[in-house]
């Protein structure tokens, strides 16, 4: 999983920015004990840097369990692990904070996290 390459990958994903056209936020994304801040402006992923260990600031947190997210990243993923809402049903993907940001731009979040599955990322 190459988070550092995600902004470049997202920039070339057809339609992704349109789904997030009004999404401007700092989102904490964690997988197990690792965490990053996704800085997003009008649907463009500006950066995806490791979250500061001390007092990280963000609008929304999305937290994935390491084991189930690894299965989500398999290509192809097994049934039930192929979408982040499947992980929500498993109870290992949490959305915390300003949940409206996530729900209003759910296609963007699904799309950008699915890009982590692709070999180029």
């Amino acid at each position: 999983m190459n988070i550092a390459a995600l902004p470049a990958r997202a920039a070339t994903a057809p339609g992704l920015a349109r789904w997030g056209r009004d999404l401007t936020a700092d989102v904490l994304f964690s997988v197990g004990d690792a965490a990053w801040i996704l800085a997003i402006h009008k649907g463009v992923l500006i950066s995806a840097n490791p979250a500061p260990a001390l007092m990280p600031s963000y609008d929304l947190a999305i937290r994935a369990g390491a084991e189930d997210f690894a299965r989500f990243l398999q290509d192809p993923p097994p049934p039930g692990w192929h979408d982040i809402m499947g992980l929500v049903r498993l109870g290992t993907f949490k959305v915390e904070g300003n949940v409206a940001l996530f729900m209003a731009h759910i296609f963007w979040f699904k799309g950008v996290l699915a890009l982590l599955r692709e070999p180029r990322a």
Binding site: P76, G80, H82, I84, M85, G86, A100, M103, K110
Partner: protein, 280 residues
Amino acid sequence: MIEAITGRYMRLELEGRAHRLYFEEAGQGIPLLLLHTAGSDGRQWRSLLNDAEVTSRFRCVTFDMPWHGKSSPPEGWEKETYQLTTARYTGMIMAVARALGLDRPVVMGCSIGGRIVLDLAAEHADELRGVIGLQSAAFLSPYYDTSWLHHPHVHGGEVCGGIVSGLIGPHAPEASRWETLWHYMQGGPGVFRGDLHFYKGEGDLRPKLARIDTKRCPVHMLTGNYDYSCKPEDTEATAAAIPGAKVQIMNGLGHFPMSEDYAALRPYLLPVLAEFQERG
């Protein structure tokens, strides 16, 4: 090219209120009444209604539930909150079947439609030839807060499409995937959530399963393995409580088999339909 499907409106009373419902049909033969999923409409059955292998033997009819598709809500809708219930749903289906003169139809529904056919089998066995439940289970626990589906800070169409998008199998043709989602994006405000009142709350049909007699009303259940809402084990647990129910788990399909990938559903469905044809 003009398709063989015809669309018309019917006027009928449901729960003492006047309704105008849209329905489509194609084919001749054994009546086959088709029920769409929550928050969508009868367009989900477009491929089946265009399948000559089916329409040469079955009179296939699908209707948009009130509040859905081209069926408007009843007068006064602006003063109420739409909520689907078991009694309302079953009453509507039987009323439509009678209004259209469908003689002991086979009823096939998906998701909420796959749920309600279990109630039909329990309550109206002698008025049906049998039921087919796609993505069918007697009960499912909620796993997200459905209030977001009808919220002033969230675009209803995009969130309804987005919340269900992962329920489609990953191998579905892109055009069918996005057409299925488009139907969700066109739903009226609060309607998908109102359907889920039945699906994730009120409509727990587990207590009724023991009353289903599959000798009087055969029950077939077909579930795609990529559906994480109605999982294969949910269907299998339901079928285990209905002696004689037949189950197939469909590889590669998700929650909307007839709409997301009809070609993949077809090999599972045609033998089931053939069984009903043999029974007459």
